[in-house]
């Protein structure tokens, strides 16, 4: 795209500089007061938060049990395309799901009538019962377009709280490598009509997290 002329840039910046020139430095001593109580027992906390925010959380022992849980789950989902992040872990898990029609993220975006999206996560957040996904988890639409989003994770991915999750993202360079990252907390919702909670406004109606205690 051709560069658009933008003479306003210098004018705006000049006004900002003139306006803030005389602002005294606001550096104050760092405030060490804790804002949230520390999270103890991340897995229990994660499950409790999921129960509160309408995420379905299933905890199993091994990766292969997780695959079987996924197969059970998909058995209850209507016929049609399953969109899945193309990664060895997801391929291994879906190998147990028999004859479902699968569209892999390496083949493009999910179609409008995908029945479920299956992805991995960058991290889980115990404090809020959140799942952190990036575009590396099957793209932007995988966790958004299908009516059900299924996340395959393990307990090693549990961050106790949001600062720890953001630190994981930073350490892994996720924001450098991916064009989008999303912290997802429960299925899509709205309360715009008389403040009554309705799930599945525009995004998935169901969010299911399958966690194995063993990493794979």
């Amino acid at each position: 795209m051709a560069q658009v002329e933008n003479p306003a840039r210098e004018r705006i910046l000049a006004r900002i500089r003139a306006a803030t020139r005389s602002v005294p430095s606001s550096r104050t001593a760092p405030d060490a007061r804790p804002i949230f109580a520390p999270v103890s027992g991340p897995l229990e906390r994660f499950r409790a938060e999921c129960a509160a925010n309408a995420t379905e959380c299933i905890v199993v022992e091994t990766a292969s049990e997780r695959g079987r849980a996924l197969a059970d789950l998909l058995g209850g989902i209507p016929e049609g395309e399953i969109f899945a992040q193309d990664s060895p872990k997801v391929r291994r898990a879906l190998a147990l799901s028999g004859t479902r029609q699968i569209r892999w993220s390496s083949e493009g975006a999910p179609s409008e009538n995908s029945q479920a999206g299956v992805t991995l996560a960058e991290a889980l957040v115990a404090q809020t019962g959140s799942v952190v996904v990036s575009t590396a988890c099957g793209g932007r639409g995988a966790s958004l377009v299908p009516p059900v989003h299924i996340v395959l994770a393990d307990t090693s991915q549990l961050a106790p709280d949001l600062p720890a999750a953001m630190e994981t993202i930073r350490r892994n360079g996720t924001l450098m490598a991916c064009s989008s990252v999303c912290v997802i907390t429960g299925p899509s919702r709205t309360a715009d009509i008389e403040k009554i909670l309705v799930l599945g406004a525009h995004g998935p109606r169901r969010l299911v997290v399958l966690i194995s205690r063993e990493s794979d």
């Binding site: 306006a19 803030t20 606001s26 007061r33 925010n53 377009v145 403040k195 309705v198 525009h202 995004g203």
Partner: protein, 470 residues
């Protein structure tokens, strides 16, 4: 009085007497209050959270040029475009020109108060482009062809019956009044729009300098669809939205959610750093950020009121405000309503036309108590009042009245005399049957309220009687 002030008084009087509206607004606010109480209980130290959020915003606002340049550099590095707009017209022109160049026929939009501020929808529509508001509340008010009632809950003034009737009229075939089913109707309608639109427009809750990312918070997921499906994504944000670091979001996200709706954290907190990369299966090919000034740098130059730019648009001050609760969001006649709107609008659209809003307050201070970034809103209302008076924007009789009042208050004798004259005058007016009529000097008060009976003796007379003359 100018047209805006006259319209404000007329609309405020009308909504203040609208019992049905009060009921629905009260229901909404009570629901919100209860949720916020639960939300705050999740914090060990809510006060410390507010202080730290204030500090984050202050750090960014005090060095706004550095953080904006850092943000811009990083967006450019990732293949995005940043456009700086001095005015609403500049911002609209950039977006409409972009849409025209790319042959855009349909735009899907997620909730953005800045897009309301610049009247983007009208600008796009005059170029023949169809615009879909996709937040459910915004979709509803767009169908009603009215502005949002509240900056967070745009349709809080409507009952499900009204919404059902609206859908029946505008969308056809809707037989239900059930919120679940009404939401499903909107979802089906808007899915078609999402998959056919060539451009998605969103706001941004935060611009993250150290990552070159925009952060968007929604519950419905509509902003994610707007920024994922169409070929072009345009984000519009005020220049004050920048924050220094991505890690700041670990606090700002839960605080925004708690103050905005009482949730622990909003359902989707999305960061976008650019267009899709070569290895990604989907996402837009173009990513544009429009940085809007539109009066903000002028406000920044006001050392007394600079902190108004810390606002994160959570809507808490609206919900807490007895004036907002009584007159509702539309009576203000401004895009931003409630305490923050009364403080901010004179800076964005001129003191002469909007100073009256700063006088429509009892200065009870509830807004400052709930503000998650600790903006001292009552002080700013007072400063706007002072500035309006200094600029000679108030009516002459108000100035004369206050001079007279000060003159009377300065001297014991005069005070006694004025007190007596007022009591006597009021008694005479009552006896003559003037109370509540057009000739009543206190008509502003008495046309909607009973005037209390004036007691036989003044307070000073009673005091002298019981405590002596000392």
């Amino acid at each position: 009085m100018n047209a805006a002030a006259e319209a404000f008084l007329r609309e405020a009087a009308a909504t203040a007497a609208n019992g049905e509206l009060h009921q629905i607004v009260r229901k909404g606010v009570e629901h919100y209050d209860a949720a916020v109480e639960r939300g705050r209980a999740r914090f060990l130290d809510w006060e410390a959270a507010r202080q730290r959020c204030r500090k984050i915003k202050r750090e960014a606002i005090d060095r706004l040029d550095l953080y904006l340049e850092e943000f811009e550099r990083r967006v450019n590095e990732r293949g995005g475009h940043v456009f700086w707009a001095e005015t609403a017209e500049d911002a609209c022109r950039y977006v409409t020109d972009l849409a025209a160049r790319a042959g855009v026929r349909t735009v899907v939009k997620s909730k953005s108060m800045v897009s309301e501020e610049i009247r983007l929808n009208a600008a796009l529509e005059t170029r023949g482009i169809k615009v879909w508001e996709t937040d459910l509340g915004e979709f509803i008010v767009q169908l009603r062809e009215e502005p949002p009632f509240h900056i967070v809950t745009p349709a809080m003034h409507l009952t499900r019956r009204q919404i059902a009737a609206l859908f029946r009229e505008k969308l056809g075939g809707v037989q239900t009044e059930d919120p679940q089913e009404l939401t499903a109707v909107a979802r089906r309608e808007l899915r078609r729009a999402f998959f056919s639109a060539e451009m998605g427009v969103t706001g941004a809750n935060f611009l993250v300098a150290d990552s070159g990312a925009i952060a968007i918070t929604t519950n419905e997921g509509n902003a994610r669809l707007c920024s994922s499906l169409p070929r072009i994504h345009v984000a519009i944000a005020g220049i004050e939205k920048v924050i220094p670091r991505a890690e700041d979001l670990a606090l700002l996200w839960p605080v925004l959610a708690t103050a905005g709706t009482g949730q622990a954290i909003t359902c989707y907190n999305t960061l976008v750093t650019g267009p899709r990369t070569a290895s990604e299966p989907d996402g837009p090919e173009e990513f544009h950020v429009v940085l809007l000034d539109n009066g903000r740098s002028r406000l920044l130059a006001d050392p007394e009121q600079r902190e108004v730019l810390h606002c994160i648009r959570c809507g808490a001050c609206l919900n807490a405000c007895p004036v907002f609760r009584t007159i509702g969001g539309h009576a203000y006649g401004t895009i931003y309503s409630g305490p923050i709107g009364s403080v901010l609008t004179p800076h964005l659209r001129g003191l002469a036309e909007f100073q009256h809003l700063s006088f429509a307050s009892s200065l009870c201070g509830a807004c400052a108590v709930v503000c998650p970034v600790k903006i001292d809103l009552p002080r700013h209302l007072l400063q706007n009042r002072r500035n309006a008076i200094a600029a000679g924007l108030r009516p002459a009789q108000e100035r004369t009245g206050f001079r007279l009042w000060r003159w009377a208050m300065e001297n014991d004798r005069r005070f006694t005399m004025f007190g007596w004259a007022a009591r006597f005058g009021w008694k005479m007016a009552r006896r003559a049957g003037l109370a509540g009529t057009a000739l009543d000097p206190a008509r502003r008060w008495t046309k909607a309220r009973e005037m209390p009976e004036i007691p036989r003796h003044s307070f000073r007379a009673l005091w002298r009687k019981t405590h002596g003359a000392g």
